[in-house]
C-alpha cells in the first residue's frame, strides 16, 4: 500500500487528449473515484509518473494522484472515511482510459482500455493474530521469519480501532500490536480504558517470543499519541526506545484514568461550527489548555521523539501541542531528543501514503453523529502522508 506504482498508456494517437479514471469499491460498498486529464506525447504515450495532469481531481505531475485524490462518487453516501477491515485481502483499484477530457458520466461512455491494481496492507508471510489476553484487546502482526523483531504498540485517536498501519509496519519488519482502547465491544470501558490497561499492553508485547523486549517503540495518532506521551514521561516501567506522535493534542490533555469521551464532553466548551456546519474541535481543546493542572508534562521522556504535525489540523491544536512539548523537553535539557516535522496545509488525518485525502467526514459520538472538520488540502496533505511515512520508517529503523 505504501509502494508507488508506475502507470503508462501506449498506442494512442499523438497529442490525443485522454482521461484516466480510477475507481475502487470499498468494503462498505461505496464507490470511490478520481480522474485526471492528460494529453499524449508525439509517440502516443502518457506516463503518469512524468507527465502533468491538466485537470480533474488533481493537477500537475502527481505519480500517485489517482490514489490519494479518490473521493466518494456523487450519488452515493458521502462523508465517510475509507476504511479497510479485512487486512488479508487487497484494495482493488480499476483504472480506465477514456477518449477526450471528460468530467462526469463515465458510466455512459466506453473505456478505451482498463487495468486493475491490487493494493495490500499485509505482505506475504506476515502473520495476523487476534489478541485477547489479560483484558487486552488488539491485533498483533508479526513479520515472517524467526525474529526476534523490534516491536511497536500502535494506537489511533478517539475514532477507535484500526489495523492497517500496524499491518503495514509488520510488512516493513516490525512486530506491531494494534491496540484497541476505546469504542470496542470487547473492552470493559467503551468510553476509554485507563493507564493500567496500557501498562498491561506494554508488558504483553514485551512477552511475545518473537519480540526483542528491549527494542520496543510507541507509535500513535491523536489522542492515542497523547496517552503514549504520558506513559513515556511518567511511568518508569514504560521505557520505549523511541516514540512517534502524529497530531497529538498532548499539550492540553491529561488522559488520566480512562472514560475519555465522557470527560471530553464534560470538560470541553462547545466547539465551533465552520461555514459548512462541520465541527472544529481545535479551539475548544486549546481553551482547555489554560488550566495547567490538566496539561501534560512531557519532560520525563527519555527516548527520541518524532512529532508529526499537520499545520492545518482543525481537530486538535497539533502545532501548539508540539511546540509545547518541545519546550517542556528543552526545559529539562532533552531538546535534542525531539524531531518535529511540521507540514503546512496538512490536516489531522495523516495516514500512510496514498490514502485518499479527506478534509472532513462523519464521526460517531455518543448520542449523535456529527461531521468533523479534519483540515488539510489535497496535494500538500498527500505529500505530507508520503514524506512523513518515509521519515517515520527511517526514524524507526535508526532507533529500533
Amino acid at each position: 500500500m505504501d509502494e508507488p506504482f508506475q502507470l503508462e498508456v501506449a498506442c494512442l494517437p499523438p497529442h490525443c487528449p485522454v482521461t484516466l479514471r480510477s475507481t475502487l469499491c470499498s468494503e462498505g460498498n461505496d464507490l470511490w473515484e478520481s480522474f485526471s486529464h492528460y494529453v499524449s506525447d508525439e509517440r502516443g504515450r502518457v506516463n503518469v509518473s512524468k507527465d502533468d495532469s491538466l485537470g480533474g481531481s488533481y493537477i500537475g505531475c502527481e505519480p500517485m494522484g489517482l490514489l490519494w485524490s479518490l473521493r466518494l462518487a456523487v450519488g452515493g453516501r458521502q462523508n465517510i472515511r475509507l476504511r479497510k477491515k479485512n487486512m488479508q485481502t487487497p484494495l482493488v483499484v480499476d483504472i480506465s482510459l477514456f477518449d477526450g477530457h471528460t468530467i462526469d458520466n463515465f458510466n455512459t461512455q466506453t473505456a478505451l482500455a482498463m487495468t486493475t491494481m491490487e493494493r495490500w496492507y499485509m505482505a506475504p508471510g506476515v502473520r495476523r493474530i487476534e489478541v485477547r489476553e489479560n483484558g487486552v484487546v488488539g491485533t498483533l502482526f508479526i513479520p515472517p521469519g524467526p525474529g526476534p523483531f523490534p516491536a511497536l504498540l500502535d494506537v489511533w485517536g478517539l475514532a477507535g480501532f484500526m489495523e492497517h498501519r500496524a499491518a503495514l509496519l509488520a510488512s516493513r519488519g516490525y512486530a506491531c500490536l494494534a491496540l484497541a482502547y476505546i469504542n470496542h465491544p470487547e473492552l470493559q470501558l467503551g468510553s476509554g480504558m485507563g493507564i493500567s490497561y496500557f501498562q498491561e499492553s506494554w508488558k504483553l508485547l514485551q512477552s511475545v517470543p518473537q519480540v526483542s523486549a528491549d527494542r520496543l517503540g510507541l507509535l500513535g495518532s491523536c489522542f492515542g499519541a497523547a496517552i503514549f506521551i504520558l506513559m513515556a514521561s511518567e511511568l518508569p516501567d514504560i521505557s520505549p526506545q523511541c516514540l512517534v506522535a502524529i497530531n497529538s493534542p498532548s499539550g492540553f490533555f491529561k488522559p488520566g484514568e480512562g472514560k475519555y469521551l465522557e470527560k471530553m464532553k464534560r470538560l470541553l466548551p462547545e466547539p465551533k461550527l465552520d461555514a459548512n456546519g462541520h465541527l472544529m474541535t481545535k479551539d475548544a481543546i486549546l481553551a482547555v489548555g489554560i488550566d495547567l493542572e490538566r496539561s501534560l508534562q512531557a519532560g520525563g521522556i527519555q527516548c527520541p521523539v518524532l512529532l508529526i504535525v499537520g499545520e492545518d489540523d482543525q481537530c486538535v491544536p497539533s502545532l501548539e501541542s508540539a511546540q509545547k512539548l518541545e519546550a517542556q523537553m528543552r526545559a529539562v535539557g532533552k531538546g535534542h531528543l525531539v524531531t518535529k516535522l511540521s507540514y503546512p496545509e496538512a490536516g489531522h488525518l495523516i495516514e500512510p501514503p496514498y490514502h485518499p485525502v479527506m478534509r472532513s467526514s462523519s464521526f460517531i459520538l455518543p448520542g449523535q453523529t456529527v461531521t468533523l472538520l479534519w483540515g488539510g488540502v489535497g496535494k500538500p496533505h498527500a505529500a505530507a502522508q508520503e514524506d512523513s511515512w518515509r521519515r517515520i520508517l527511517e526514524f524507526l529503523d535508526k532507533h529500533l
Binding site: 483504472i95 482500455a113 487495468t115 491494481m117 515472517p144 524467526p146 510488512s171 519488519g173 517470543p209 527494542r215
Partner: protein, 446 residues
C-alpha cells in the same frame, strides 16, 4: 489456551539482544517474469551467510536454491550486485535464487516444476543462514526470512473455459473492454491443457487461448479425429470473439505446437496469423491427415532413437532424415507473416537448430527470409519456458499419444538455459508488441 502458550520458543539471551538481520525482497507480489531484488542488512560486516529459496510445489515436492555470500563492510548483501561464491549458482546473478531451483536432496527423480492452478501464486520462502552451508539445510535455523509471491496472472485478467464448436481450451482475457490482439497458445506432445503461459501473455495484454489438442482424459479430443482444421477452428474462434481484434491474431508454439503453427501459416488461406512465435520446433512435421497419423509417422523414417548414460531418451535424431526430403517439410517459403524462431543448440529432443538452418535456406530461396528472425542460444535445451522457470535438463514424460512413460533428455545447462529464457522472453514480448499492438492505431494499452 492462550496464543502465547501455543508459540513459545526458547531464545538465548544473546539472540534476544542482537539486532536481527533483515531481509527484504521486491516485488513482494509479482509476475513470474519480473526481476527480483533481494537485500539483506544488519549482518556483521564481512560475515559469511547463505541465502536460500524454498518452494513447495503443487505436486508436494520441495524445491530449493541457495547461494553463498559475504556481507560488505556495512553488513549488507545485495543480490543484484554482489557475487555469489557457490551454491546452486555462482557469480552476479540477481535472479539466481529462482532459476536455479532444484528438487531438494531425497526427492523423487526427474521432476519438472509446472504450475497447474494459475489463480494461486508460487510462494517462495527466502531465508538467510549463518555461515556457508553446502546444500544440507536440515539442521540450519534461519536468521531471517521473507516470503514473496510469484504469479502467472495479474489482477483483472479473467479466465474463460472454452468447449464449444468442438474446440477445447481456456481463454484468458486482459481487463478492459478491448479489443485485444489474440494469441493461440500451443504446447507439445505432452498433451493436456497447459494454461500458465497463456495466463502470462494475457497479463501482458493479449487475449490468449491455451488449446488442448491431445488428451488422455477427455475423449472428445482424440488425436485420431483431429487434423489441422481443429487448430484453424481455434483461430477462427479467437478472430470472431467480441473482445479480440480479428486482424491481430498470432500463434505461439513450442515443440509440436511450433510445427502446427508453421503448417497453418504456410497454408495461406483465410486463416492467416498476423505473426508467429516458434520455439524449439521443426518444419519437418507435415500435417496431412490427423494428428494421430503425424505421431505414428514420427517413428517411421529410420531416424535414430538414442539413450544417454542414464537411459534418458534422446529423440533429436528421429526426424533428422526428413530434412533432406522436400516433400516431408512444410513449405515455409509460403509464409507471409513475421516469424520469430527460437532454438537451443543443446536441444536433445528435436533437431531444432538443423531445422532452423534449413528453414532459413528455404525462405532465402523463396524470397521471404526478411520475415524471419532466428535466435539460437548456446548450451540451451528444448524446454525454453518463460523466465525464471527452473531449467529442466531431463524429466519424466508421458506421451499423450501412446501413454509411454519414459525419462526424456531435454538438454541445456542451467545458467545458459536460464539466460536464454530471460533473453528470449524479452524479445518475444517486443516482437508481439511490435506486430500485434503498435502496428495498428485504435488499440489502446494500459
Amino acid at each position: 489456551m492462550s496464543f502465547f502458550g501455543e508459540c513459545k520458543r526458547i531464545y538465548s539471551e544473546e539472540m534476544k539482544t542482537r539486532i536481527s538481520p533483515k531481509i527484504t525482497a521486491q516485488p513482494t507480489r509479482g509476475l513470474v517474469d519480473e526481476k527480483i531484488y533481494i537485500r539483506v542488512s544488519n549482518l556483521i560486516p564481512n560475515e559469511k551467510i547463505t541465502l536460500r529459496c524454498l518452494l513447495l510445489s503443487e505436486d508436494n515436492d520441495f524445491w530449493h536454491a541457495y547461494g553463498l555470500y559475504i556481507s560488505d563492510d556495512k553488513g549488507v548483501v545485495n543480490v543484484a550486485e554482489d557475487v555469489c561464491l557457490g551454491g546452486s549458482y555462482t557469480g552476479t546473478e540477481p535472479n539466481g535464487l529462482i532459476w536455479s531451483l532444484k528438487p531438494v536432496p531425497g526427492s523423487r527423480p526427474a521432476l519438472r516444476l509446472r504450475k497447474h492452478n494459475v489463480f494461486t501464486p508460487f510462494l517462495l520462502n527466502i531465508s538467510v543462514h549463518k555461515g556457508h552451508i553446502n546444500g544440507d539445510f536440515k539442521d540450519a535455523s534461519s536468521l531471517a526470512l521473507t516470503v514473496i509471491e510469484r504469479w502467472y496472472i495479474s489482477p483483472g485478467v479473467s479466465r474463460v473455459e472454452i468447449s464449444e464448436n468442438y474446440i477445447h481450451g481456456t481463454l484468458f482475457l486482459p481487463p478492459g473492454p478491448g479489443p485485444f490482439p489474440g494469441i493461440l497458445d500451443l504446447w507439445g506432445g505432452g498433451g493436456g491443457l497447459v494454461e500458465y503461459r497463456a495466463a502470462l501473455l494475457a497479463s501482458h495484454g493479449y487475449a490468449s487461448l491455451a488449446l488442448e489438442y491431445m488428451s488422455t482424459q477427455n475423449t472428445s479430443i482424440n488425436v485420431n479425429n483431429i487434423g489441422i482444421e481443429y487448430f484453424e477452428a481455434a483461430i477462427h474462434f479467437l478472430k470472431s470473439h467480441p473482445r479480440v481484434s480479428s486482424e491481430q491474431v498470432g500463434i505461439f508454439g513450442l515443440s509440436f505446437g511450433t510445427s502446427v503453427a508453421l503448417n497453418i501459416a504456410a497454408k495461406g488461406n483465410r486463416i492467416s496469423p498476423r505473426c508467429l512465435v516458434c520455439i524449439s520446433g521443426s518444419h519437418a512435421v507435415k500435417i496431412n491427415g490427423t494428428i494421430g497419423d503425424v505421431f505414428t509417422n514420427l517413428k517411421e523414417e529410420g531416424g535414430k532413437i538414442m539413450v544417454d548414460e542414464n537411459n534418458h531418451f534422446i529423440w533429436k535424431e528421429l526426424i533428422l532424415p526428413r530434412l533432406a526430403d522436400p516433400s516431408k517439410k512444410v513449405k515455409v517459403g509460403n509464409i507471409k507473416c513475421p516469424l520469430l524462431l527460437i532454438a537451443g543448440n543443446d536441444d536433445q529432443n528435436w533437431p531444432t537448430v538443423d531445422s532452423a538452418r534449413d528453414m532459413e535456406n528455404m525462405m532465402k530461396a523463396a524470397g521471404n527470409e526478411h520475415l524471419l528472425t532466428t535466435l539460437i542460444y548456446p548450451k540451451t535445451g528444448h524446454l525454453i519456458e518463460p523466465p525464471y522457470s527452473p531449467h529442466t535438463r531431463f524429466s519424466n514424460f508421458i506421451s499423450a499419444f501412446n501413454q509411454e512413460k519414459v525419462v526424456v533428455l531435454w538438454g541445456g545447462q542451467p545458467k545458459e538455459h536460464s539466460f536464454a529464457q530471460e533473453d528470449s522472453w524479452e524479445k518475444i514480448l517486443h516482437f508481439l508488441y511490435h506486430h500485434l499492438y503498435s502496428s495498428s492505431i485504435g488499440l489502446s494499452k494500459l
